[in-house]
Symmetry: C2
Subunit: 340 residues, 2 copies
Amino acid sequence: MAHTMREVARRAGVSLATVSRVLNNNEYISEETRRRVLDAVREFNYFKNVHAKRLATGRSDLFGLVISEIANPYFPEIIRGYQAMAWNRGFDVLLCNTEYDLERTKAVMRKLRESDVRGVAIVTSSVDKSMTSELTAAGIPVVLCNAEPAGKLVGNICIEYEHGINKAIQHVVELGHRRSAVIAGPADNRTAVTIRKALVSGLTARGLKPVCVLEGNYRVDAGASAVREVLSYPELPTVVFCGNDLIAMGAMSALEESGVRVPEDVSVIGIDDIFFAFLARPPLTTISVPREQLGVKAFEALDKMLNLKRHKGSNYILETDLVVRKSTASVRRLSLKVNS
Amino acid sequence: MAHTMREVARRAGVSLATVSRVLNNNEYISEETRRRVLDAVREFNYFKNVHAKRLATGRSDLFGLVISEIANPYFPEIIRGYQAMAWNRGFDVLLCNTEYDLERTKAVMRKLRESDVRGVAIVTSSVDKSMTSELTAAGIPVVLCNAEPAGKLVGNICIEYEHGINKAIQHVVELGHRRSAVIAGPADNRTAVTIRKALVSGLTARGLKPVCVLEGNYRVDAGASAVREVLSYPELPTVVFCGNDLIAMGAMSALEESGVRVPEDVSVIGIDDIFFAFLARPPLTTISVPREQLGVKAFEALDKMLNLKRHKGSNYILETDLVVRKSTASVRRLSLKVNS
DNA sequence: CCCGATTTTGGAACCGGTTTCATATAATCC
DNA sequence: GGATTATATGAAACCGGTTCCAAAATCGGG
């Protein structure tokens, strides 16, 4: 079927080793020989077998990337940044989704380990030390996102939410808001908890102590059902901070369905600035997270650990910022009371 | 570093071949031996090296999936369906994006070929025969989407747009629309052209011959700029059909920005039913394409070709349907004239 | 013209598994 | 009880490359 290097060698009238040298751009090859080999390669339309190569060299040209779910709009840009970096350097990326499932996550780690990947970036939050240790023990560097201070061979990309959150709070203060609510992400998600705390303490500090702090998953329906709960309260908040844009969009939908207008009656703020945030009606004011950069930095961190043999693990910090669109507006004099 | 099978064999006091047999669930292994081997495996926390395995078996547990761009919301569900099928059967998927770039596409094909993938599904439309032939020539089955009748080792998943389109046209006819416009996808895209033609002929047949047929890319901005052009016409259409949901969402944005209300003044219909379609304001009426099924069927087609040694290439047809939401409404008596 | 240094090439071991073939042991049958 | 068959294991070849080591060819200097 496919030709092997030996056949190419025979055809070119040289040895196996020589063909290998030519194909690896090794020096110490005469022009004449190189030409002959390359001719034979062309003639046979020869491709190297990556598996043989990987076996022989003892390493793959693969980097792993672990995400939760491909359909979640949070991840595409991360994948993009990571993949672009890898591709530019001649590497491939093995994309793995955990589907939010622990067993599946374990299977993924095993797969990654078996595949001899050079390094792994994990941008899901539900990965604990016991899972990464399997990789690091095999000498495979790992980089996490918003994780606790790292150990050997594990880097960390930390997203600094404070800045964006503070600007957002400043923003709503200037708009005259006094009553806020928070719809946070899942309580078992480290990042979600960090954000919730920053939000609550920041709001409280500025005199906008939230009238309620709800928790749920990171999906649209969570935003909708949280809003329905908020609507049952005697006094409506004038601004609701959401743990991510999906929640925010769900919240806006539910709000509108109940006849509450955004932003006239209540303002809504999301986090992430996913692609669809600007397409929402109204376009969503949100705290942007540099996700493509996250992918890029994750790769760089791995690269650094690989090259410098720095076992300390390298860390990066990424800044967030506020993107003001149309889902926030100055508070109306007369506050609305829906259910009375 | 990592342990090898030989070490496990030595530890368990058996031969290399025996360990291999145990690990491959081979019959003809005594319970006693199996236990000893598995103990050793556990003790060493041993993993098989996939590259060695692939080299030895001459095939990889990989299936390729070629998409245009990871950030395009059209693809996630396809990936999902495909990957789920693969995982269930113990296979991995190598995800490749062409980034709409020809060189890149070629590189991807080469990579897939080198990787000894079992089969490849290509759901981008800009792949011609010369590219797939490199794969099929190597005995790797390929499945395309909406392609021309296939050759050897190439299957085809055909999306039947007619049904959805006809229902959509029926829908707008019932709503009393008489003037339509269509904003199609790129002219060099086979699927986009098919859709455009079906749309135009269907509309014409029902007496709604489009006042204009615009073409552009498949992105949001194309919808927006097309709408701006439409708005410069003396008479506004009352309904605009878009080549995909992204275009439709861009169209709705631009419409709204110009003070034209959707659906009161003009109705908008998309195609695909991407995740965000129902979150658009107003929620988008669209023709749903069973994308997860597309992924599933693509894998099945490959599987069939692989198992049955059917060189004919297997084909599937997928149906589309209309999803009515809020971006379409009955036409108003008095037609609006914006620029006069 | 000979010798050591340098450039070029081939031979062979090796990477870590799978698999064929042969052998040894146990079970079955007449 | 010996032949026959099923079960269990090992030895070794093989997959298709990379790379170390040694040998051959080329070259410059004395």
